[in-house]
């Protein structure tokens, strides 16, 4: 080969090398520790505004075949529409991995899937549900915190002491109680909020809010109840 050809060839090889960005992607994690089971520790069923980051991270734990926590196992996270950081990690000495979750832009439930490889191949997985609130659900949350939660929520906060234990049975249902509330139609929920417990033959301890809340606020409370229901609320199939 003539020297000119060599020079051309070198140049041709060098130029593309200079143009390619050096990739910063970390090499994929690997581990030869295999867990038998992955469990959820904390952070499930959090409700936050669409697109926002959840207040608390989701923490999962890998256990070995003996049921004890397992350190150094590879856990990877994925979920449609979620931004997860980190997307994979090795479990810490207490067998746990914590992931920060940013919700997608569409109101509704999101599934976070955490998996870890099993000894015999294939993964063992766990699903964690998180809830994104749209405008209407946020209104419902605000309204229900002000008017409903004192009796419907057994948890007390510094700003609000729960009144649930002071009521006489039948006691109110928690808004997350999907087993009961999913069976009530939107129309019935609206009726019981607007006209009080006796409108559906229930306790008069639940007052009528027809003259206190607007129709939009009442619908928003129903939307919020549907959003946080556990098990999740399914739209009736025959709505059309």
């Amino acid at each position: 080969m003539r020297p000119l050809h060599v020079a051309w060839l070198t140049l041709l090889l060098i130029i593309p090398m200079g143009c390619t960005k050096r990739s910063n992607v970390n090499p994929p994690l690997s581990s030869n520790v295999y867990g038998a089971q992955i469990v959820q520790v904390s952070g499930d069923k959090q409700a936050a505004g669409v697109g926002s980051k959840l207040a608390d991270p989701v923490v999962v734990q890998v256990n070995g075949a003996d049921g004890n926590a397992l350190a150094g196992a590879l856990v990877s996270f994925h979920g449609d529409g979620l931004v997860l950081n980190p997307s994979e990690a090795l479990s810490d000495p207490s067998g746990q991995v914590s992931v920060s979750v940013q919700l997608g832009g569409i109101p509704g439930s999101y599934q976070l899937v955490a998996d870890t490889p099993k000894p015999g191949g294939g993964p063992t997985t766990i699903n964690v549900r998180e809830i994104a609130l749209g405008y209407q659900e946020k209104v419902g949350k605000e309204v229900s915190y002000k008017y409903c939660a004192t009796c419907h929520d057994p948890e007390s906060t510094p700003e609000r002491v729960s009144n649930l234990d002071n009521l006489t049975p039948p006691l109110p249902h928690q808004f997350t109680d999907g087993n009961t509330l999913n069976n009530m139609s939107d129309a019935d929920l609206i009726k019981v909020i607007a006209d009080g417990g006796p409108a559906l033959g229930k306790s008069p301890q639940s007052p009528a809010y027809r003259s206190t809340l607007t129709q939009a606020q009442i619908k928003a409370v129903v939307a919020y109840i549907r959003a946080v229901a556990d098990p999740p609320y399914q739209l009736p199939a025959t709505q059309h």
């Binding site: 980051k53 209407q136 605000e142 008017y147 009528a208 619908k219």
Partner: protein, 685 residues
């Protein structure tokens, strides 16, 4: 050589003779004129519309959806809003509520909001380029267009372009706006809101004109270095001063300090003069019974803050304050700082001694253990003065000999529309405005070590909220037609006369709102004169007992004199009246025992009032609303009647529902409530 020949041959074939020339030009023309329709035919929006019309065939209401679907480019044009939005060309199903289970874009219906699509279009809330018809141009930044779609997490900022008051559906925007005022952003940055008002800070940083009386140079040094090491809840930001700088600032602040009015006053006796051994224990329980925790917080053993956030945290107060200063302060806070929100309690000597002994015991021996400052000298003081002036300390604190700076920090009134070419992004950060604002709040000095903006101790959620509030400050918001801007007026109200001076002394409006002015910790007093009976009010002022046993925040006991109580009560009873509260509103003779019996039935059975209110402490347990035992002493019958008929009309936003009572029911309930008396002994006549 042969290549050139061949090329010539091919050219000759097309341009050889006139008909050939004509034919080839015609073909060329045909191709050129076919380009535009072809591009159009394969355009993104046509692809989506085709996909949509296939998709709706699978739906149960296919016929209806097909009839409502129109192909072609759609446009929402609202000239007065400068809106030309073609988003609905691809987002074809925004108004199809029956598709609410669909999660595939661009075929989702719009979630329920209070505005219609045709009223405001899309970009007013979502940003992006409305006129574009490709995904790339509409959603993302290009060279010609740098306003990308606003990420969903900051979407509430768009509501803030018109709505100045807190909305139920925008918790993040509301929080962000509260933080803008609470963290004192507006001391340095001017932020003009769309209604023309400036964001007003609510944090009221203390005056430092007499600071040497209150604390030591060592404490100022430690605080300046890291305010949160002293009090986790401190809103004072961290300026990341070096040891030398912090020492210079401390030297200057001590040197500029002048004696306050309090310094000339007699010193209250110290706890050492008290008989008895466990004064700290006694002081602790006094701190509790005086409800200091309504405003002040102290960290408990578990590290949680217990108490309110209106006033400074006291976890390590013993490290900070001079014991003499503290005792004078407890007697007359306004003698040290005329603008403090702390009321002047009429503490007796023993209470002052006990409280100060308790507060001085709240200390952390490690906090100042390693602070050893060299003696202050003139150079150090001069350097300190320059730092205080350079860093704009006077934007927040009053300091002798340094004037408040003018336009110290950038105006943020239009930060939400800041052109991206003016933004200096950090390497590696996403080049969008929300990321820039959030990044700047998170770590301002990362954008340049010479920047003066300090580091605020904020959580991710707080930064997200502040960014949301700032993104509402757009060009569009500034130029919004005034009739679209929703804000309620903020009247200034200060009570006048002798009673007004007393109320000022007691700082009533730190906790109570009156005529739209004041705090929200305690009940609104605007109509208190119509609501309560004189005898009850006199008694309550003398010995405030709580109506809400579940709350940790309570009205403190001010140790008022009988004359003060009478003067104040008479003022409240005459000045704070609602209209229409004359005797005509309710015929008192109808409040007889039969009515009371019917009322009791309504109270306990039909309306189950006892689930929220306690009438009989032995039997009832509800504590959502105030206890009603003794309410017949407290409230006037007319007030009860009017309140029962429509509570929200008397107190906007009360959680008490409007039960739509008939006149008779409201009268019967009133008759029952007036029978609930406690017949207290003692009190004023």
């Amino acid at each position: 050589m042969s290549l050139r020949n061949q090329f010539g041959g091919v050219c000759g074939f097309f341009v050889g003779t006139a008909p050939r020339r004509f034919a080839s030009v015609s073909v060329l023309l045909a191709i050129v004129s076919a380009i535009a329709p072809t591009k159009d035919f394969f355009s993104q929006w046509r692809h989506y519309q085709k996909e949509y019309s296939h998709f709706i065939r699978t739906r149960p209401d296919a016929g209806r959806l097909q009839r409502r679907f129109e192909s072609g480019i759609h446009q929402i044009w609202i000239p007065e809003q400068r809106v030309v939005d073609r988003c609905t060309t691809c987002h074809v199903a925004l108004q199809e509520a029956s598709l609410s289970d669909v999660r595939k874009e661009p075929f989702r219906p719009h979630p329920a909001i209070p505005h219609s699509l045709t009223e405001f279009g899309c970009v007013v809330c979502h940003h992006g380029q409305g006129a574009a018809t490709t995904v790339q141009e509409a959603h993302y930044s290009t060279k010609a267009w740098e306003q990308p779609i606003l990420p969903a997490r900051y979407l509430e900022s768009s509501c803030g372009q018109c709505h100045m008051d807190a909305l139920e559906g925008t918790p993040q925007l509301n929080l962000g706006r509260r933080l803008l005022a609470r963290y004192g952003c507006a001391h340095c940055h001017a932020i003009t809101q769309p209604d023309g008002t400036l964001v007003a800070p609510v944090d009221e940083p203390p005056s430092l004109e007499h600071v040497a009386e209150k604390t030591t140079r060592e404490w100022i040094f430690a605080w300046t270095k890291n305010p949160q090491a002293y009090a986790a809840s401190a809103t004072m930001p961290n300026y990341r001063f070096s040891d030398q700088e912090a020492a210079d600032i401390a030297s200057f602040l001590v040197a500029q300090s002048t004696p306050s009015d309090n310094s000339a006053k007699e010193l209250p006796q110290s706890v050492a003069s008290l008989p008895g051994s466990d004064t700290v224990q006694e002081g602790t329980s006094l701190y509790g019974t005086l409800f200091c925790a309504s405003c002040h917080a102290i960290q408990n053993a578990a590290g949680n803050l217990v108490g309110g956030e209106m006033a400074p945290e006291l976890t390590r107060a013993g490290n900070k304050v001079n014991p003499d200063w503290l005792r004078r302060w407890l007697r007359a806070p306004q003698g040290y700082d005329p603008k403090t929100r702390m009321p002047r309690y009429r503490f007796d000597e023993k209470q002052i001694a006990l409280l100060s002994s308790f507060l001085l015991s709240k200390k952390d021996d490690d906090l100042l253990a390693n602070v050893h400052l060299p003696a202050s000298d003139a150079q150090s003081i001069a350097r300190g003065k320059k730092l205080v002036s350079d860093y704009g300390c006077v934007a927040c604190h009053r300091i002798n000999g340094v004037n408040p700076p003018e336009s110290f920090a950038p105006d943020l009134s239009r930060i939400g529309s800041k052109p991206l070419f003016q933004v200096g992004f950090l390497r590696g950060m996403p080049e969008t405005l929300p990321d820039y604002i959030a990044g700047k709040i998170h770590d301002p000095r990362a954008f340049g070590p010479a920047l003066k903006m300090p580091n605020f101790s904020l959580t991710d959620g707080q930064i997200e909220a502040l960014t949301t509030a700032l993104l509402a400050q757009t060009d569009r918001a500034v130029t919004m037609p005034p009739e679209l801007v929703r804000s309620s007026p903020h009247p200034k109200y200060h009570p006048g006369g002798d009673a007004g001076r007393l109320m000022e002394d007691l700082r009533c409006q730190s906790c109570h709102a009156i005529n739209g002015n004041g705090g929200d910790m305690a009940p609104d007093l605007t109509f208190e004169g119509s609501a309560v009976n004189r005898a009850w009010l006199l008694d309550f002022m003398k010995n405030p007992n709580t109506l809400r046993p579940a709350l940790i925040r309570r009205m403190p006991k001010f140790n008022l004199s009988d004359a003060e109580i009478k003067g104040l009560s008479d003022y409240i009873l005459s000045a704070y009246q609602a209209s229409g509260f004359d005797s005509q509103a309710l015929d008192l003779s109808t409040l007889n025992s039969e009515a009371a019996t019917r009322g009791k039935q309504l109270f306990y059975s039909k309306y189950a009032c006892q689930s929220c209110h306690i009438v009989d402490y032995k039997k009832d347990k509800g504590y959502v609303g105030p206890a009603l035992a003794g309410v017949g002493d407290r409230l006037t019958p007319v007030w009860m009647y009017r309140w029962l008929k429509n509570p929200n009309a008397l107190l906007s936003g009360t959680p008490m529902p409007n039960f739509s009572l008939s006149d008779d029911e409201a009268r019967d309930l009133t008759a029952f409530l007036t029978t609930l008396k406690e017949h207290k002994k003692g009190g004023l006549k």
